[in-house]
Symmetry: C2
Subunit: 429 residues, 2 copies
């Protein structure tokens, strides 16, 4: 029945060129999501596709093939971003860009990033199918290594520094090595940068990872701002010794100290008013044997908030408390700021309004909201008018194999994306 309706609408709408009610093919979109999830599929039925992995590279090759089938002009830029361009009718127009990422966190799900990436392909398929041309060139961008520090979008915004290239993700590859694996060139990252004015507008569709839309039974989230984040490595240096012969009171136990620090991070984050979050997600203890007191532990520390001041303030408290804990245990502590920082970002008001109008025309309920997650849109907002469209994620689950968004919700978001692009194409110069 859905298909019949779509065909009917298609016939109705074609003469209008860019009608508000234009609809994408929900089944085709869902199939793209299924096809993408095959890259990195494990024996346990879950998919692993961390940036720079063989699975990531295979998925990227598949995306490029699909883009070519759509007659997009495709390239990999020097930061490993995949860009597929559909020509516009007006040679004076700068591109309207949209997209997301297909790399995943370890043990992640099939929807984070993937929905926005596949929706972007579906938009192109729908436009081709309906023979709709636009004044602006349209660019699908599949950003490289979003999860490991929004690498591709930072390079495009011109602030992927040299230091970032040494940050290693769970594949064991550094960003620098990963860029080479993806077909980029670390010596030419400057050329990846787009200057303000070079992109007419940027849109990203993404699952809403906070669970608000799902809880409140709403269709579309319109993102007003994206929180900033900072990452640190925290290193605790004690003394490795025999667990059987070293009395409790003579130990310099790096793991015990790290454990007290992890508890303190949680307490200090909770002690402040506001929505800031502080997380220790990674820990390694050395040498890591049951019968050896750990001599060294390295943990991650992540802080996010909409205010840079809050991030700095909370970190100062955490560092001070960490130093107290370590000193009392006769253990060393050091903090290394990783070059994966993202500043808080605001989206473009006019684009927010357009997304709201388009959603209304499509009969979809909306909510304006902030994004607690970082996104490629955050960096692109520095160089182009940017909008973000959220669709519900069941129970707000993300970064987990249990992540799930219905095909209908994905299609709703993609319809908003498609029609917003067409409206912006009419309005923007």
């Amino acid at each position: 029945m859905k298909k019949i309706r779509l065909i009917f609408l298609g016939i109705l709408m074609l003469p209008l060129v860019a009608p508000a009610q234009l609809k994408v093919d929900q089944d085709r979109l869902e199939q793209l999501i299924f096809d993408l999830a095959k890259f990195g599929l494990q024996d346990n039925g879950e998919t692993e596709r961390v940036a720079f992995s063989d699975a990531d590279i295979a998925a990227r090759e598949w995306v490029i093939e699909e883009m070519k089938k759509m007659n997009l002009e495709t390239k990999i830029d020097f930061a490993g971003n995949i860009i597929g361009t559909r020509k516009g009718t007006d040679a004076n127009m700068k591109p309207i860009a949209f997209g997301s990422h297909i790399d995943r966190v370890p043990n992640g799900g099939n929807y984070d990033g993937c929905v926005g990436a596949m929706a972007a392909l579906e938009v192109m398929l729908s436009l081709n199918e309906k023979n709709i041309s636009t004044r602006h060139p349209l660019e699908v961008i599949i950003f490289s290594n979003e999860e490991g520090g929004v690498m591709g979008s930072r390079a495009m915004a011109g602030h992927l520094g040299k230091n970032a290239l040494s940050v290693v993700n769970s594949t064991g590859f550094s960003m620098g090595e990963g860029i080479i694996r993806l077909g980029g060139d670390t010596t030419k990252l400057k050329q990846v940068q787009r200057m303000p004015g070079e992109i007419a507008a940027f849109l990203e569709l993404h699952i809403e990872q906070g669970g608000i839309l799902d809880r409140e039974n709403l269709d579309i989230g319109i993102v007003e701002g994206i929180v900033g984040l900072k990452w640190w490595n925290v290193t605790f240096t004690g003394f490795a010794n025999h667990a059987g012969t070293t009395p409790m009171n003579l130990r310099q136990d790096a793991l015990l100290t790290a454990a007290k620090f992890i508890v303190a991070v949680n307490e200090l984050t909770n002690s402040m008013d506001g929505k800031q979050v502080g997380t220790v997600g990674r820990i390694k203890a050395f040498p890591g044997a049951p019968n050896v007191i750990p001599g060294k532990v390295v943990t991650s520390l992540e802080i996010r908030d909409l205010s840079s001041e809050v991030i700095t303030n909370l970190f100062d408290k955490i560092r001070q408390k960490g130093e107290e804990i370590a000193k009392a245990a006769n253990v060393g502590i050091s903090f290394e700021l990783l070059d994966t920082t993202a500043d808080p970002a605001l989206t473009d008001i006019a684009i927010q309004q357009q997304i709201a109008k388009t959603s209304a025309k499509l009969g979809l309920s909306i909510k304006k909201m902030q994004s607690g997650a970082g996104h490629d849109a955050q960096d692109i907002a520095l160089i182009a008018p940017t909008g973000m469209i959220f669709v519900p994620s069941k129970d707000g689950i993300s970064h987990s194999p249990k992540e799930f968004t219905t095909a209908e919700d994905m299609a709703n978001g993609t319809n908003v994306l498609l029609n917003t692009i067409l409206e912006l194409d009419k309005k923007l110069n």
Copy 2:
């Protein structure tokens, strides 16, 4: 000068067959330690030789070659123990055995186990050199995988259960797989077992890992008892979710819960009178990314004491507290007892007395003590009269690359070992 003295003594002593003042070759012993440390030597100058690793296998092949050069009858038993036998003159006598291990903890040192193993070889070299024959056959035993759960000695004592074979060490190999790698046979472990009476006496020389001998400037420790130990895996099951979008109060953070547990293990262990030790040395967080709340954490838990009741009592307290902590955090917790248990063991009184007498004849100072570390001798004590000789370890450091014992201390201990063997050979039937 030392060599001249040794030759002189050799001439003097040969007619007496087994003089108390017999001395080993200190330089040759030290060279054996240096030679052994080459197996697994890394670029950073430290050696890694965890049981079942390629380095472990290469070192074992070298030991077997050295044994063959000493005309020992060598074999690998079905549990991977290397046994080198020197014939006795009396066919009715059961062997006097001595030895230790050459496998190491991750990031360990050159002396733990290695001193006892190389001392055993040096004893054989000294006896050969001086043409001394014994009534009892003499067996050097290099036990397999001591550090990963005294595997070889447990098999010899007849209590390496089926469950133990699935315990995996840091090489990634299980004990069962490791036994195959070492040339053993997991289906024939029963044949490894020695019955009470089959070994006349067992002696192990080892570094003293508590630092008492070094602190008190003593030469020889005579071990009265060896503490028992139990290992558990503790699994915390929370829910992996996005660290940016999941508010602090909605998290089921497995790592935060594990951190509170690690602090509690320390507090509870300290809260009891006595010398019990409780250690968390290993931790893994899944998925282990800075921007994902850990959904699962697995830690080790080790408890040691001279009393099995104290171990059980402390564990009960830790389990109860762990369950409270986990429940409050809405996180699951489970404890899995690993099959690496060692019961507290006492050494043979007559052998203790003989070690003391021999030490006195050699002009060495002694101290009777307990061993906080587990040893192969602990299991062999179940099936044979057993003695343990400790030599100082600088600052009591062990399970660390900084482990160090002087050549003189090693030679002192080996002299005690050699002369105690010769005395036992005279006295035991």
